[in-house]
């Protein structure tokens, strides 16, 4: 009896401290944001932005750790990355997570943007949120680009050169901007990119994120754990490599950029002017996304009732996919002339882009004119925009399943640890990620159990 009293008193004390803290936090800016902890499984489409932000946080943490060992210098950068990858304990895992989180962030950001685009979310007073989001997306890609340039492998050096060259090709301001980047030579470019990568761009992104955040933030802990777990598992399956070390005395061979830049690479390879291909066309794409809220001003939100915007979105998505995939393709026949192997036939390339654009607009207008009027109950259907599923597990089974999962998690952790100890840090990541996924499932069972108690 006495024990129970003590524990209750202790709990009350804790609750008092919690209340006290919450009262004081009300004075801070934190309370301006309303965190929503969903009680059921939600479709992640509604909070892809939050998931993107989570990857940003993961990148911040792992990136800060990488700074302990990375040396931004032309002669020792590659060696320091190799040290992180091969010699430093847990270094492989940290760098692997950093790399795959960057890919995940770009993918999630693009996915987030297109979902919001087709859902017409840039309307309803969201214009500022939309515009900051598009700028954030561009900064994310620039951030990733400056990141993979720091490794100083062959791909990094060529990417740095191309970036500096494209900057210099901008009319009027280009020369000035390029000389800021280049400084007194390549070693300066590297340290400038480093400053951009670890401080300047993340700082701007953080500032923009504070504007971009809506008042209500969906903090779906299980989904956050799943995303983190998935990043780590993918890291375990396809571990990041070091690439070929850049030797200034051996000019590199054919090198394809990272997947988010192969689209640009394809445009450049069609032989048109480098400024048009590398700067103007991508800028145009960004500008179209920036101004779409001011073009598509109607009250309709559903994609089917906004044929122009939807056509534009599908065309944009199709063009991004086509150019990205095409950029990867290089004629494998080594007997052919290099110019011929790398050249992309402009008629075929721009023809494909024109066809996808026409098809996108044809499809959406066709749907709008012929199909939509026949679907009378359409507007009723589209009312609830966030889908909910209820995965219910009943009373007794609930506790049992948690215990079972904890057991599995324990075994998985042991497996991961054993794998790590035996020097296979990359394979250990599959287990580390699996453990996180089980944590996500347990979190979900917990919340559904709490819901049951309330009901």
């Amino acid at each position: 009896m006495e024990k129970k009293g003590l524990s209750r008193r202790l709990l009350n004390r804790l609750a008092d401290i919690y209340d006290w803290l919450l009262n004081r936090l009300e004075r801070t800016i934190l309370m301006g944001i309303r965190f929503v902890l969903p009680k059921k499984i939600l479709s992640p489409h509604g909070f892809l932005g939050m998931l993107t932000f989570v990857t940003f946080i993961i990148l911040g943490i792992t990136g800060a750790l990488l700074m302990f060992y990375y040396k931004p210098s032309l002669t020792s950068a590659y060696e320091s990355v190799r040290l992180i990858n091969e010699d430093i304990a847990f270094g492989m895992i940290i760098r692997n997570i950093h790399y795959h989180a960057s890919n995940a962030m770009i993918f999630l950001a693009i996915y987030h943007m297109f979902y919001q685009f087709f859902a017409g979310r840039y309307k309803i007073r969201n214009e500022v949120i939309w515009i900051t989001g598009v700028i954030l997306g561009v900064l994310t890609i620039i951030e990733a680009y400056t990141g993979y340039d720091l490794i100083m492998n062959e791909r990094a050096v060529l990417a740095i050169n191309i970036g500096a060259s494209l900057t210099s090709s901008i009319p009027v301001a280009g020369q000035f901007l390029a000389s800021i980047l280049i400084g007194s030579g390549f070693s300066d470019i590297l340290i400038h990119y480093y400053a951009f990568h670890v401080f300047i761009i993340p700082l701007i992104m953080l500032l923009l994120i504070t504007i971009h955040f809506p008042r209500n933030l969906i903090l779906d802990m299980p989904m956050i754990a799943i995303i983190s777990g998935a990043i780590i598992i993918v890291g375990g399956i396809t571990p990041v490599s070091l690439g070929t070390k850049f030797d200034p005395n051996i000019p590199p061979g054919i090198t394809v950029p990272e997947w988010y830049l192969t689209g640009l690479y394809a445009f450049i390879r069609t032989g048109i002017d480098k400024f048009i291909a590398g700067v103007l066309l991508p800028t145009l794409l960004v500008i179209i996304f920036l101004i779409i809220p001011f073009i598509d001003r109607g009250p309709k939100l559903s994609w089917a009732e906004r044929p122009f915007a939807t056509g534009l979105g599908i065309a944009g998505l199709g063009q991004i996919i086509i150019t990205t995939v095409w950029g990867f393709y290089i004629n494998p026949d080594p007997t052919l002339d290099l110019a011929e192997r790398l050249m992309i036939d402009p008629f075929l390339f721009y023809g494909a882009l024109a066809i996808i654009t026409a098809a996108a607009f044809g499809f959406t207008y066709g749907y709008h004119i012929w199909v939509l009027p026949k679907r009378k109950n359409y507007s009723e259907k589209s009312k609830s925009n966030i889908k909910q599923w209820n995965l219910k597990i009943e009373g007794k089974r609930l506790l049992l399943s948690i215990i079972g999962l904890l057991g599995a998690q324990f075994i998985i952790d042991i497996m991961g640890l054993q794998m790590y100890m035996s020097g296979h840090a990359d394979k250990a990541m599959i287990w580390i990620g699996a453990s996180l996924i089980i944590f996500a499932i347990i979190l979900h069972i917990m919340r559904s159990g709490i819901e049951d108690d309330k009901g």
Partner: protein, 236 residues
């Protein structure tokens, strides 16, 4: 009260609290509980008025405020302070000098190799001008390719492609200079781009190193013709 702008708009009492909480808007005058004018200010300067219907919770009309033509004492003080602020920032104008650190290529006579070391139809990558600083000397912009053509002649070009500054190399099997990024092909005899994107640009000639060969067969570099990294003139 002469500085206060006042317009009659309808504002529902229910939403009135939200206005005060909003950082950007400040309520200036309240005739009676339902009508309110809100001054919109940017960086402390009066820029306009936003009429807000908080019941609908959106802006109704936006227009510039009518200012009194007479400069008030308050405005005069503000503009003096703004002038002082400008003067305080003026000394920072040459900040651009901090951002740009320009390169100087000291043209020097430098031995590269001996004729005997380089067989016909082969190449050697060399650094020019050598500074003794490893960071500087590893700079791809300071790398050149010395080519011994099949006819025995020597040529030396910059390895920085004219197109997008990737690094070119002499390929012995095809006897041409190739860029691995976008497929620009150069003629090793002249350094002129013959195919690929570089051939479509206005400047098609790779920067060339002036070579001198002495009686012992030592090859010397002495000066560069052209600019390394086409379009990089600004930072030469």
């Amino acid at each position: 009260m002469k500085d206060i702008y006042f317009y009659n708009i309808y504002l529902y009492h229910k939403g009135f609290r939200d206005v005060k909480n909003n950082l950007f808007l400040s309520v200036y005058s309240l005739k009676y509980s339902f009508k309110v004018a809100i001054k919109y200010s940017l960086f402390g300067f009066k820029t306009g008025l936003i009429l807000v219907d908080l019941h609908e919770s959106r802006c109704l009309i936006k227009f510039r405020c009518k200012t009194d033509m007479k400069i008030s004492r308050r405005d005069a003080l503000k503009s003096l302070a703004a002038l002082s602020g400008t003067l305080a920032l003026t000394p920072f104008l040459p900040i651009g000098d901090f951002l740009i650190q320009s390169t100087t290529f000291n043209i020097q006579r430098q031995r590269i190799a001996n004729i005997k070391d380089i067989p016909f139809n082969s190449r050697l990558i060399f650094t020019y001008p050598i500074t003794g600083n490893t960071e500087r000397d590893n700079d791809p912009f300071r790398k050149f390719v010395l080519i011994r053509l099949p006819n025995g002649q020597f040529k030396a070009y910059s390895t920085v492609c004219l197109h997008l500054w990737c690094l070119v190399d002499y390929k012995t099997e095809r006897q041409q200079i190739e860029c691995p990024c976008h497929g620009s092909i150069y003629d090793p005899n002249t350094g002129i781009a013959i195919r690929g994107p570089a051939a479509l640009q206005p400047n098609k000639t790779l920067p060339e190193v002036k070579l001198e060969i002495d009686e012992k067969g030592d090859i010397y570099a002495n000066g560069i013709i052209g600019v390394i990294g086409y379009g990089k003139e600004g930072s030469k």
